[in-house]
């Protein structure tokens, strides 16, 4: 494998890792809020709120 390709793959993995690192929890919440039935309210995420 050429050095350039290696560098490109390493960089792509780094970017994917950062996206998953900070995007995974928002993605779960997005899925939960859009696909749930009945639709939950945002305020209930906060502990002890109504």
């Amino acid at each position: 494998m050429r050095e350039e390709t290696k560098e490109k793959i390493t960089k792509a993995i780094e970017i994917a890792k950062t996206i998953v690192h900070w995007g995974f929890i928002p993605f779960i919440l997005y899925l939960g809020f859009t696909r749930s039935n009945p639709k939950p309210s945002l305020i209930r995420m906060i502990p002890l709120a109504a």
Binding site: M1, K6, K17, V20, F24, I25, I28, L31, N37
Partner: protein, 350 residues
């Protein structure tokens, strides 16, 4: 199965593959006649025994877990830990999405460490699992890809840990377990390790599992020199016992540890106790005060280490802890609050 066999027969015209397919057909028909049960997963071999032990139930310091069930598909958890002698105070946020075919779970803490888990069921037998552990510290992140297939009388599992296409490194694990008779199942696991591009290792491991009506016995032999045997016995509906023996026969060191654990269910409480040959005694009592409120007391003492002076300096923690679990249920929208508070009686340093 006969329908599938006919399909295979009509597709294959050359005589050689015809005989092969009829042979395979015969084997599968014979297998079906035996009507063997699924042996369970390779990982779950010691599950029943581990359930009687209480290694995961011991805690130190204060902890509070708040679970909110926002909808049947979504729940979030807020978890606070503080006052532990071993770990700094921490806040942990978790979210879980439970779909019909998929399951996603992620937790992130104040250090920015993400633990992510994703399962996708292609059908009832075939499940893909992805686990990731991502930290900002370089070299501490982990990725695990897993494919699980459960057949009628066998299970296959393939795992890849930290595969790197650039360096061509990683850990690859393939396991297969097959029911041989109604009670006996045999399995084999191969671990292929390539920590650096120049070095590689391969280990084999063999298991046997014998399960009766109310007992399970397993033996596992690993090529690196460990033997693990376990026995689980359900005495009646309320009393379960488990014992495990681990023997390490390496070139440099030899070691063995035997653990016995018991679980007793009473009308309003559960008692778990465990003793091992290293002199460690632990007990957990869980008392249900009302259906929504339970109270937990744990105790843990390492007797032998108190009298071991010739080994390296070590800290012994004598801890007892209490926990209150509060569960409030509305129809559909349940809320759980769990509060733990541990108190170390003292620690001794040599």
């Amino acid at each position: 199965m006969a329908g599938l066999g006919e399909k295979v027969l009509s597709k294959s015209t050359p005589s050689t593959s015809w005989s092969l397919s009829s042979l395979l057909n015969g084997i599968s028909e014979y297998r079906e006649k035996l009507n063997l049960p699924n042996p369970g997963t390779f990982e779950g071999l010691h599950r029943e025994v581990k359930a009687t032990f209480l290694t995961n139930q011991l805690f130190d310091g204060g902890r509070a877990d708040l679970t909110r069930v926002l909808s049947p598909n979504l729940q979030v958890t807020h978890s606070f830990t503080m006052g532990s002698a071993l770990a700094p105070p921490m806040y942990n946020f978790g979210a879980a999405y439970i779909g019909t075919k998929s399951f996603l779970h992620g937790t992130i803490d104040t250090d920015g460490t993400l633990a992510a888990r994703m399962n996708y069921a292609w059908n009832a037998k075939n499940v893909t699992k992805i686990q990731a552990h991502i930290t900002s510290v370089p070299g501490h992140s982990m990725l695990q890809l897993e494919q699980d297939y459960q057949g009628s009388d066998y299970s296959i599992n393939y795992k890849t840990i930290n595969p790197s296409p650039v360096e061509n490194t990683g850990i690859y694990i393939l396991s297969y377990i097959q029911s041989v008779t109604q009670k006996l199942a045999l399995g084999v696991e191969t671990v292929y390790q390539k920590p650096t591009p120049d070095s590689e290792e391969c280990f084999k491991s063999l298991v046997a599992k014998y399960s009766g009506k109310n007992y399970i016995a397993t033996v596992q032999w690993q090529e690196i020199g460990t033997i693990q045997a376990s026995y689980f016995q359900k005495i009646n509906e309320k009393v379960e016992f488990g014992t495990e023996l681990q023997i390490l026969v390496g070139r440099e060191r030899r070691d063995a540890l035997c653990t016995v654990g018991g679980k007793f269910d009473f009308r309003t409480s559960t008692l778990r106790g465990q003793v091992d040959t290293s002199g460690r005694v632990c007990v957990v009592i869980e008392q249900k005060i009302t259906p929504a409120l339970s109270f937990l007391i744990t105790g843990d003492i390492e007797h032998m280490k108190l009298f071991t002076f010739f080994s390296k300096p070590k800290t012994i923690l004598l801890a007892n802890s209490m926990s209150i679990c509060y569960v409030d249920c509305w129809p559909l929208l349940a809320e759980h609050i769990k509060i733990w508070c541990g108190h170390s009686i003292g620690s001794i340093e040599f």
